[in-house]
Amino acid sequence: MKNWKLWISSLFLLVLLIVVFAGPSLPFVDNQLKQHGVIKTETGSFILPPIPPREGFPLGSNHKGVDVLSLIIMGAKETLTIVILVVVIRYVLAIPLAIGGFYSKLLEKILQGWQQLFSFMPPIFFVTFFVTLPLIFFSKERGLWVILVIAMLETGRVAEIILQNLKETKKRPYIEAGIVAGGTPLRLFKNYYMPVVIPHLIILIVNDIGRVLFLLAQLGVVHVYVTHTFITNQWGAYEVVNTSLAWPTMFEKITADIFSYQWIPFSVIGAIAVTIYTFNLFADGLQKFFENKYRTYRADL
């Protein structure tokens, strides 16, 4: 039980996985997401949605009378799919770029340029800006575009971190030993660099999952969602509505909700906070695990 962070976060992750895969069939979850109208209480009074937390609505309901807890559980899968997709795309681009940058000066320059460019502006701005381009706004694959944009924004940063790690490793004496022993570049890479870099990479990826989810939450607050559809209204205009169940979409009316229907934003941000905390804790636990395994832990003097 020494590495309590790893144990607790693993437990949380397990719960999260259960929610994602078995959530819709749990007994207290309304997987039809039924919209409740007026509710009559035992005392005979009526409650209009949004219904505050009460029996049958552990976390209250939203403006349409849908149970918030069910919404959160049903939305977990979509939210995490988006996050994982972003992280996968980001690393599929970043890992070859970093390794390429380690061996080729040209790629290193490209990588640094990428990182520098996007370090001049907060990512939230870039996303807000890119998603309004008509090309992306009207695209049928808008979701994929947005995911790609979010992934690309920090590819440079991530690749830079991996590259730095490779460079730090290069300075260590055992690499020289490997060269003296006649290791080919491929062999050095496979047997000398990889074992050191992979644990770092795993921790980086887990941390990034938390970061992406946080960015999505921030974007949700400023009404930028990954997917949307258009519906006509009575004036012949087309309203942009989001039909997705992802968590950040529930921040839609946050500035108004926070005064009167606190349970809506608070439940959602709670769910997001717990998930991000789980991933960060998991990354911490993994770090400790690898430090113990490879004995890289620095003793406290």
């Binding site: 520098q116 460019l117 370090s119 001049f120 502006m121 907060p122 990512p123 939230i124 701005f125 807000t128 800006f129 998603v131 309004t132 381009l133 008509p134 090309l135 706004f137 009207f138 049928k140 938390g210 946080f214 939450a217 921030q218 607050v221 400023v222 009404h223 930028v224 258009f230 006509t232 209204n233 012949g236 205009a237 087309y238 309203e239 942009v240 946050i254 500035t255 926070i258 005064f259 606190q262 934003p265 608070f266 941000i269 709670g270 997001i272 906070a273 991000i276 905390y277 960060n280 804790l281 911490d284 620095r298 406290d300 003097l301």
Partner: protein, 313 residues
């Protein structure tokens, strides 16, 4: 060395501005395809280099003709307006950054000193905890707490929502400072830990220097180089958070208006032009990147002042 670095950064800044403006001026004409009765079916956008170049030309012509970015209302020029909102944003960002930076170092030192004593739970563990939960949660929780506290009669009436109230300014500074504070505290803690056991510390102790002096005069000075290399990260983060904080507290600063200029419409009509307010956006882009640029330059200068090694190199 410092001068060369600053020159380097300036060059980079100019290049990024040009690149950002190029992105901003991407042509946004949409060709709509309609079905029966003018019903929306789909829309496509086309890109030609000529259109793109034209946008640039128009922009510079516009500046030339209007001697600036034009007016917003009754004689107030757009550039004045941008500058005013920007100052408003900086009123909360700059104090928050300094607060986060110095309190963060204090917290890091505290974490280090308390690490093997009673009460170490309040040390590095709290720092890690606050780093791990999103500050969006803390912001919303704090807002709710203040409001509930007032309802329960525990707190005086504090305005949490508004643009000109001093209480909102103070709250915004606190909200913005949360993450930089714990981020810097974490960095400080680990860089002090990396320094321990170095020869110069033993030398200082052997000469009879008090441990307080060793920590503040010798160790921290060496840590500053590492800590200062993170100023860019916290500035970027604070600016990112500025959008959220201004939005959540209804504070009408630059981030809020910037967001307004680039945001997508909530509804559209067939045939609607999709152009955004490019000119104010361009103004804000230049100012925001300038903040990051200044943060980079400041950290270069501070590093040069603190560490003789950095100066020579």
């Amino acid at each position: 060395m410092i001068l060369r670095n600053i020159f380097h950064q300036t060059l980079l800044w100019l290049i990024t501005i040009i690149l950002f403006l190029t992105l901003l001026f991407l042509p946004r004409t949409a060709a709509y395809e309609t079905g029966a009765g003018g019903m929306y079916k789909s829309a496509t956008s086309s890109y030609t280099v000529g259109d793109h170049v034209n946008q640039f030309k128009e922009f510079f012509q516009y500046i030339k003709e209007n001697k600036g970015l034009g007016t917003v209302y009754n004689g107030v020029s757009l550039s004045e307006n941008i500058w005013r909102t920007f100052q408003k944003s900086m009123l909360i960002t700059i104090p928050a950054l300094f607060l986060g930076f110095f309190l963060g170092i204090a917290k890091g030192v505290f974490d280090y000193r308390i690490r093997n004593r009673r009460g170490k739970l309040f040390g590095v563990n709290t720092t890690r905890f606050f780093l791990s939960i999103p500050d969006l949660f803390l912001i919303i929780a704090l807002q709710l707490l203040i409001m509930e506290g007032f309802e329960a009669g525990l707190l005086p009436h504090i305005v949490v929502y508004g643009s000109d109230q001093p209480s909102v300014v103070i709250l915004d500074i606190i909200f913005l400072a949360i993450y930089p504070l714990f981020y810097i505290a974490n960095i400080t803690f680990f860089s002090i830990r990396d320094e321990q056991g170095m020869d110069y510390i033993r030398t200082a102790f052997s000469k009879g220097t008090s441990s307080f002096k060793v920590l503040y005069r010798h160790v921290l000075k060496n840590c500053f180089v590492k800590i200062l290399s993170h100023t860019n990260t916290i500035t970027l983060y604070a600016l990112s958070n500025l959008f959220i904080v201004e939005f959540l507290t209804n504070y009408r600063g630059a981030a809020y208006f910037f967001y307004e200029t680039v945001t997508s419409p909530k509804a559209f009509m067939v045939g609607q032009d999709f152009s955004i307010a490019v000119y104010p956006a361009a103004g804000y882009v230049i100012l925001f990147t300038a903040v990051i640029y200044l943060a980079k330059v400041l950290s270069e200068i501070a590093r040069g002042l603190v560490s003789p090694l950095e100066r020579k190199e």
